[in-house]
């Protein structure tokens, strides 16, 4: 195997790689062993520490909290998708009086931490007489934040489409709404699907912030459990953490599957999604093509790769 960083290894390099591999294994084992040893010394493996997890009642409560987490996630996901479309279309509007306010709102919600938004809804609004359930604070905060991030992703997807698509749409007599609905959005959605699902994973992880504003979700229950008999703090963190990791891995798996399917889809032939169209990423195009792309498409959008980053 050859890569940018190394050539096909010769006999010397193979030996060196083996030694480095052994050293890596030793270091990782040493770290894990130390943590395991501390666990052993402080009695974390003691049956009394795991005792609470033998009650079916505890598991019923975990299931109920999981339901709360998923409930907040599901509603927030649907609402943020809807808001994302609305804001994306608003940002692409021809009318400045729509475009400018929508841009300001999107940038504002993207810049404010989700937790501060939740606190604004939960602790801030009662001051002006609006009492809000923690559930709604979590859902609405996640909705406006992820909605703005998704709007950015969709906008980038639409702007990365070749201009000819839009022009052809107008040429066959479609109106603005028709061009957007029938031509631009379907292509942009298909291209940005992996980014959208990746953002949904972030939404799922961010429901755990509800813990801080006393929404009874999984992590909140973990905190409750940790004061039970035997004080299973680390144990409940691991059990609950396992549940989160499995849920997020399922969603990430969907994202990866969609990405693979998108790449193979014949409907997207000839169109490189925004990340692939990035002039700096030249997968299988020649330098000449990249230069042509830069001259033609011109604009480089620095937000590529941005939306997926978060948490």
């Amino acid at each position: 195997m050859t890569s940018v960083l190394y050539d096909v290894p010769g006999p010397k390099a193979i030996l060196r790689n083996r030694i480095l591999g052994a050293v890596t294994v030793l270091i990782v084992l040493a770290v894990l062993g130390f943590v395991g040893y501390r666990f052993w010394v402080t009695g974390q493996f003691d049956p009394s520490r795991w005792y609470v997890f033998t009650f079916s009642n505890v598991w019923m409560q975990i299931l109920k909290s999981l339901g709360n987490t998923l409930g907040a996630f599901a509603l927030a996901a649907v609402l943020s998708l809807a808001l994302g479309f609305l804001l994306a279309i608003g940002r692409l509007s021809d009318h400045a009086w729509v475009r400018v306010p929508v841009t300001v709102v999107t940038e504002f919600f993207r810049a404010v931490p989700v937790l501060v938004l939740m606190m604004l809804l939960f602790y801030g609004l009662p001051v002006v007489g609006v009492k809000m359930d923690p559930y709604w604070a979590v859902v609405l905060a996640l909705m406006v934040y992820n909605g703005s991030v998704l709007a950015e992703a969709l906008r980038a997807g639409i702007e990365a489409l070749p201009r000819g698509q839009k022009e052809a749409g107008f040429a066959i007599g479609l109106r603005k709404s028709g061009v957007m609905r029938l031509i631009l959005l379907p292509q942009a959605i298909r291209a940005m699907l992996p980014v959208i699902v990746a953002q949904l994973v972030v939404t799922m992880k961010d429901t755990a912030l509800g813990f801080i504003i006393t929404y009874p979700e999984l992590l909140y229950y973990a905190k409750l459990l940790s004061s039970q008999q035997g004080r299973p703090i680390l144990q409940s963190a691991f059990v609950i953490g396992g549940i989160y990791i499995v849920m997020c891995l399922i969603l990430s798996g969907v994202a990866k599957w969609l990405e693979g399917r998108t790449r193979r889809s014949p409907k997207l032939k000839g169109y490189t999604p925004p990340t692939g169209g990035d002039p700096r990423i030249h997968g299988d195009s020649t330098v000449t093509e990249v230069i042509a792309l830069q001259r033609g498409a011109g604009k480089f959008d620095g937000t590529s790769g941005g939306p997926a980053v978060g948490g």
């Binding site: 402080t42 974390q44 404010v112 931490p113 938004l117 992590l219 891995l249």
Partner: protein, 215 residues
């Protein structure tokens, strides 16, 4: 404005702690992220496997849970006592390191293999292939997404509010005790974050323009 001027002491401490979390966490994330990123692109399969497991495990864990494990779990292990701020730095650094590692790996992958092959073909040794050909190209494509990671890191420092670190996210609780208006306090906090994020995205654009690929 009164909310800020009357409580200058608390705002000062909160802003300082937020910046400490940001810079110390960012430094830890960079160091750890470079190590893990290097593992993920190394020719050693074992190192690649460990890097992949680490990244996938931590990236699919909510930051709040990482904080939970460090702030509540660490004291259970009977190790030397650490301040919650230090534990918070560890949590946020270890979490962000996975994003740094992914950005670095993606940056290296943007360099076409032909570049390195050509460099080897004209007889450059490994060090020069890296410093003259591969890294300068990778660096340019790493800067903008890396800044996005740091913007996310800055916003994530607020999670420490739930774990008794007095930073900007936690200042509402402290000021409510002094009888201040929670809505006004939180709006100020939001305004400070918008300002800080605008500053960082301005830096992002400036750096991006500075190192833009010239062809």
């Amino acid at each position: 404005m009164g909310v800020i001027v009357d409580n200058m002491d608390l705002w000062g401490v909160a802003l300082r702690n937020t910046l400490i979390l940001f810079f110390a966490g960012g430094l830890l994330a960079l160091v750890l992220g470079i190590i893990v990123g290097a593992m993920r692109v190394s020719p050693i399969p074992v190192a690649r496997a460990f890097g992949t497991v680490y990244v996938n495990l931590i990236r699919n864990t909510p930051l709040t849970l990482v904080f939970f494990i460090f702030v509540f779990g660490y004291p259970q292990l009977g190790l030397p006592k650490l301040d919650t701020t230090v534990l918070g730095i560890l949590a946020i650094g270890i979490y962000t390191a996975t994003y740094v590692a992914e950005v670095l790996r993606a940056g290296i992958n943007t360099v076409p293999v032909g570049q390195a092959e050509a460099a080897r073909a004209i007889g450059l040794p490994f060090g020069q292939v890296m410093t003259l050909v591969v890294l300068p190209q990778a660096f340019r494509s790493v800067v903008p997404p890396m800044m996005s990671v740091f913007i996310a890191l800055l916003k994530n420092t607020t999670v420490a509010a739930g774990f008794s670190v007095l930073e900007l996210g936690a200042i509402r609780a402290n000021l409510s005790e002094r009888g201040e208006n929670a809505l006004a306090v939180l709006l100020w906090v939001a305004a400070i974050f918008v300002a800080l994020v605008l500053l960082l995205s301005w830096a992002q654009r400036a750096l991006e323009n500075k190192w833009r690929i010239a062809r």
